[in-house]
């Protein structure tokens, strides 16, 4: 790993200024995505700006119809939060299956959302629930946030401070984990929200996406059987040693049905 400057600012303003001040500087949250990449010399940022001392970013608040989770909340914190479990049990369950225990103790919601790994779990919840990504300078709707492979609508140096999840009537997440890496080969988040049924699929494409066909079918009947015969075309899906595009397409159908069966 190349050496770099290291900063631990105590305010959001300073953090943003520090990243803006050095070209290529990066925020460091839990480090569970950034450090593995740096260890392989695949990223060599000249400066890291730790978010660890920023105040107020590690809170979970449930407020009427919204669960607001601070960007620095670890996966473990979300998984074990009684408030989250009560309001959106699917979200707590999703967090409890990210990576492994040690990763969950460090990795953060904000880091996962900013990193936008195509095989990450949280993006499915964000898109499946129609969440809002709150930053130091504004808000992004999940529907227009995930742009492509590791690509989001965040501007350079924009800092995610929280994610607001609207509480759905019911939701569930079904994940088919990569046997070696534990990331999602396919993960399907199904939610019955105030705005209608939403189905978000992670792991299968360049970034998380919704299936209009499944949403339409589930809108007429929220049963696994309603998904019979509905397929997501394999053409644009990821293919790797773990799963071909065709298999992924098949798994999307299976995981979607399992999520529907598990709604609560």
């Amino acid at each position: 790993m190349k050496d770099f400057e290291f900063h631990r600012p105590a305010s959001i303003k300073d953090a943003v200024a520090l990243v803006a001040g050095t070209s290529g500087a990066k925020y460091l949250a839990g480090g569970q995505s950034l450090l593995p990449v740096m260890k392989l010399d695949l990223a060599e940022p000249p400066a890291l700006v730790s978010l660890a001392r920023l105040p107020g970013l590690a809170d979970i608040r449930v407020d009427g119809g919204t669960v607001a989770i601070g960007a620095l909340c670890t996966h473990d914190q979300v998984a074990r939060s009684a408030d989250v479990a009560k309001a959106i049990p699917a979200l707590a369950a999703l967090a409890s299956h990210i990576g492994d225990a040690q990763v969950r103790n460090r990795g953060t919601l904000g880091g996962s959302v900013a990193h936008a790994d195509p095989a990450a779990d949280y993006p499915a919840a964000l898109l499946g629930l129609g969440a809002t990504i709150v930053t130091d300078r504004g808000k992004h709707a999940a529907d227009s946030y995930f742009k492509g492979l590791f690509e989001t609508s965040l501007a350079d140096g924009e800092l995610v401070t929280a994610v607001h999840f609207p509480v759905p009537r019911r939701a569930a997440y079904a994940k088919f984990a990569h046997r070696a890496s534990k990331y999602a080969v396919v993960g399907v988040f199904v939610a019955e929200t105030a705005g209608g049924v939403r189905v978000a699929i992670t792991g299968a494409g360049a970034t998380v996406f919704r299936s209009a066909a499944m949403e339409a079918a589930l809108t007429s009947s929220m049963t696994p059987g309603a998904l019979d015969g509905i397929t997501v075309p394999a053409d644009d899906l990821n293919a790797d040693a773990e799963a071909s595009a065709e298999y992924r397409a098949h798994l999307i159908g299976v995981m979607a049905k399992r999520a529907v069966a598990a709604l609560r």
Binding site: F176, R179, A180, S181, A241, E242, A243, S244, Y247, H250, L251, V254
Partner: protein, 793 residues
């Protein structure tokens, strides 16, 4: 008193404490004064010409001490890495044995082949400088896969090996085998692939070499299963300095599974580099480097045919196997698919005729050599898939077909058609035990319950045999081994009666510090706390051949027993003197010398004390001191065997295979410590299940390893495995003093075909007839799809 900790007792391990408090000392934990660090520049190509190495920028980088290349290796006259076994082809010609320079000279032949070595005063500096070494490669066509290395017109790994053939070997009798097939009522045939796996001990390899110029003395710390063999090869072939100037220490070693048997180039290079730079040089592999440079295991393509009579009795077996060697011949590589594989093809069965041909093939990959089981898992997989297929094809019960063909207990010693003579066993007994412990009778109810849950349940089994403690030296010498396969021990009784045992075997998880102490406790009646077992240091131990092939108890333990015999005998003479009796009248039992039939006794400790304080002593006839050495050369292999049962549950929608239960019944001979024996079985099972369901080192045609990290290569985790039911039925080995056989590999040998047989059993109702290892979810799902489509069509 001693026997509470003697043979058969589940004594807790003496070595655990240091590991549990973080005070184990592994090679990378050793940092010497003035330590420097090495990083290797390795080929990114499967096959390429090296037109030049430009080290200028690297040499100019901060803290860099040296950059060494193949030219320096040649100039200093270092020897190539030798192969320890010469196999001859059918026609009597020697195998093709290409050169293996420690750093590439002219060509690289696999990804990871070392081209240059950068030494710097910090690891970070060495790594940074290594990135500055510029190598001019000219990529060549590569034979990355065994399947394409054997194809006509395949790229040549070595000019001197046409068709990439290293040797073309055979065993058995083709004529009687042909005759057997000619009269067969049924012939069952399978094409099988034994998947290439990476051994992955959790501790990556490391080596720390230091040269002391003042005394002309070399010391190597290395992650080795057999430091004496490493010293022998360094002395005789590679570094070429005499043994007395060379000390090899294998301290705590974090697992080996075969991969740390072999002499690797890095061991030579750190010693040599230390001489060049005048500082100790340490290299520690990272995990990606381990995937690319540790010798892999398996990688066979076979065709097998089984001839049966109308009643299902086996008449003959014919096997043709291609075995990958990789680009260079690793220490034991040629022996694995020959003397450790084809000689095991009779399995536990009574076969009147067998003929096997094995072609060893060079590929542009890292070497393939012994990995837990080494040859025996490949033989077992082939046989047990074939037997299962026969049962299905003939419509016979899988248990009854095996029962009919197992060698009966009254047939021992049993001479196979492939050279081995099994001394003893009771295969029916382990079969019965496994079926009882695994509640075979209750299987239909479990299958029905799975079905009710939407899952497909399958039952699979294997009855297997293996061979441990490869021996005797004279025989293996005749078969091409370039080393002996005996073991050495030294037992030093201290004046107060405590004991230090120096063993030539090496413990890297097997618990020798405990089991060998139990041998002493059992024999001398001292407590295991009074015994220290020393291993892994060529300066402290007379000699040794190390630990592999489950040889430590049967060969190393027997050497200790021989040394103990001498100790007890000498003690008898001393005791007789002290007791004023004749030697013939003195017996040794429960830690005491006693004049037979009297209550006149001398405790072992008193005798030991007299040996060192010989005031009242038979000094004319007996030397003072109580220390004995012994070498033990076994008369034969030992032959553990047993039955493994596996039940799987398959999710037909996703193809995910879950291992629902594993029940095994083994005969590993006399058990010294049942806790450790069970633990060895568990570990082997995990690796065997890993091979069957999860693991495969995947090269592409160009020789790129496509999944050489834990992100891609699927290691078995806790959640992938069930608890294991382990049972034992003991028949004592007839030709070693302990009656032990070996347990290190049984799990990895017996279980893979049981897993695959279970998967095929589960899928049989859908019409699936074949699946290869590892049976990944997608593979299973595709097999189901294909079968459904086939049925529909």
């Amino acid at each position: 008193m001693g026997n509470a900790q003697g043979i058969g007792a589940a004594v807790k391990r003496k070595e655990d404490r240091r590991f549990l408090v973080g005070r184990g000392q592994y090679t990378d934990d050793v940092t010497l004064p003035n330590q420097s660090f090495a990083v290797f520049v390795r080929s990114p190509y499967g096959h390429a010409k090296v037109n030049g190495v430009d080290a200028k920028a690297a040499l100019a980088a901060p803290d860099v001490l040296a950059v060494l290349t193949g030219a320096d290796v040649a100039a200093d006259g270092l020897g190539g890495i030798p192969c320890g076994w010469l196999v001859k082809s059918k026609d009597g010609s020697n195998m093709v044995e290409p050169p293996h320079p420690a750093l590439a000279q002219g060509k690289v032949r696999h990804v990871g082949d070392p081209v240059a070595m950068v030494i710097a005063s910090t690891k970070a500096a060495a790594k940074a400088a290594a990135a500055l070494v510029e190598v001019d490669y000219e990529p060549l066509p590569a034979a990355g896969l065994l399947a394409n290395a054997i194809a006509p017109g395949a790229p040549q790994v070595w000019d001197e090996a046409p068709g990439n053939v290293c040797f073309d070997w055979h065993i058995g009798d083709p004529a009687t085998t042909d005759a057997a097939f000619a009269k067969a009522a049924h012939v069952v045939e399978l094409d099988l692939v034994n998947n290439r796996v990476a051994p992955n001990p959790m501790e990556p390899r490391a080596a720390n070499g230091s040269f002391d110029g003042a005394n002309d003395q070399y010391t190597l710390y290395t992650t080795s299963q057999n430091p004496h063999l490493t010293r022998l090869l360094l002395a005789a072939f590679t570094l070429k300095v005499p043994e007395h100037k060379l000390r090899v220490i294998a301290p705590d070693v974090g697992g080996g599974f075969g991969s740390k048997i072999f002499h690797y180039a890095e061991e030579l290079l750190v010693l040599w580099a230390s001489r060049r730079v005048g500082r100790p040089v340490k290299w520690t592999s990272d995990r990606m480097e381990a995937f690319l440079t540790d010798a892999h295991g398996r990688d066979h393509i076979s065709n097998a045919k089984l001839a049966l009579d109308a009643d299902g009795k086996f008449l003959g077996l014919r096997v043709h196997t291609y075995a990958a060697m990789g680009a260079y011949l690793s220490t034991f590589a040629p022996a694995v698919p020959t003397y450790l594989y084809a000689t095991l093809l009779s399995g536990p069965y009574d076969f009147p005729a067998i003929y096997a041909e094995v072609k060893a093939i060079f590929t542009n990959t890292v070497a393939v050599d012994a990995y837990r089981g080494a040859g025996r898992p490949e033989a077992t997989y082939l046989l047990e898939r074939l037997v299962e297929q026969a049962a299905r094809q003939l419509g016979m019960d899988r248990v009854e077909l095996r029962r009919k063909n197992l060698i009966r207990a009254d047939q021992f010693p049993y001479q196979t058609q492939v050279a081995l003579q099994y001394d003893i066993g009771d295969y029916q007994a382990t079969l019965d035990l496994a079926l009882a412990q695994g509640d075979y009778a209750g299987y239909p109810a479990r299958a029905a319950a799975s079905k009710a849950n939407g899952k497909l349940r399958g039952f699979g089994m294997s009855t297997y045999i293996e061979a441990c403690g490869i021996a005797p030296s004279a025989l293996v010498g005749a078969l091409g081994a370039r080393a002996g396969l005996y073991e050495a021990a030294n037992v030093r009784v201290h004046p107060t009666g405590s004991v230090t045992v120096f063993t030539g075997t090496h413990s890297h998880g097997q618990g020798h510090e405990t089991t060998f102490a139990q041998l002493i406790a059992d024999r001398l009646g001292v407590s295991t706390d009074q015994v220290e077992v020393v291993h892994g240091d060529t300066d402290r131990i007379p000699f040794g051949m190390g630990t592999y092939g489950s040889r430590s108890a049967s060969v190393g333990g027997s050497a200790i027993v021989k040394a103990l015999d001498k100790i007890v005998d000498k003690g008898k003479k001393i005791a007789a003197h002290l007791l004023e009796a004749s030697v013939a009248d003195v017996e040794f039992k429960d830690g005491q010398y006693r004049v037979v039939g009297t209550d006149r006794v001398k405790a072992f400790g008193e005798v030991a004390f007299a040996a060192y304080v010989p005031h009242n002593y038979p000094i004319e006839t007996v030397e003072p001191g109580l220390e004995e050495s012994a070498f033990y050369d076994p008369k034969n292999f030992t032959f553990p065997g047993g039955t493994h049962l596996v039940e799987v549950e398959i999710d037909p929608e996703t193809g995910v295979v879950e291992v629902a239960s594993v029940t095994i019944a083994d005969d590993v001979g006399v058990i010294i410590n049942p806790m450790i024996v069970d633990g060895q079985a568990h570990g082997g099972l995990a690796q065997g299940i890993g091979q069957a369901l999860l693991e495969e080192a995947v090269y592409d045609a160009e020789g790129q390893l496509t999944n050489g990290t834990y992100m891609g290569y699927c290691m078995p985790r806790a959640a992938d495995l069930p608890n294991f039911k382990v049972g034992n039925h003991v028949t004592a080995c007839t030709h070693n003093p302990l009656g032990v056989k070996g347990v290190g590999e049984v799990g990895a040998i017996g279980v893979p075909p049981a897993v695959i047989n279970a998967v095929l059993d589960a899928l049989a109702p859908l019409g699936v007839t074949d699946i290869s290892m590892p049976a990944t979810p997608e593979k299973v799902w595709r097999a189901i799809q294909a079968a459904r489509a086939g049925k529909g069509a």
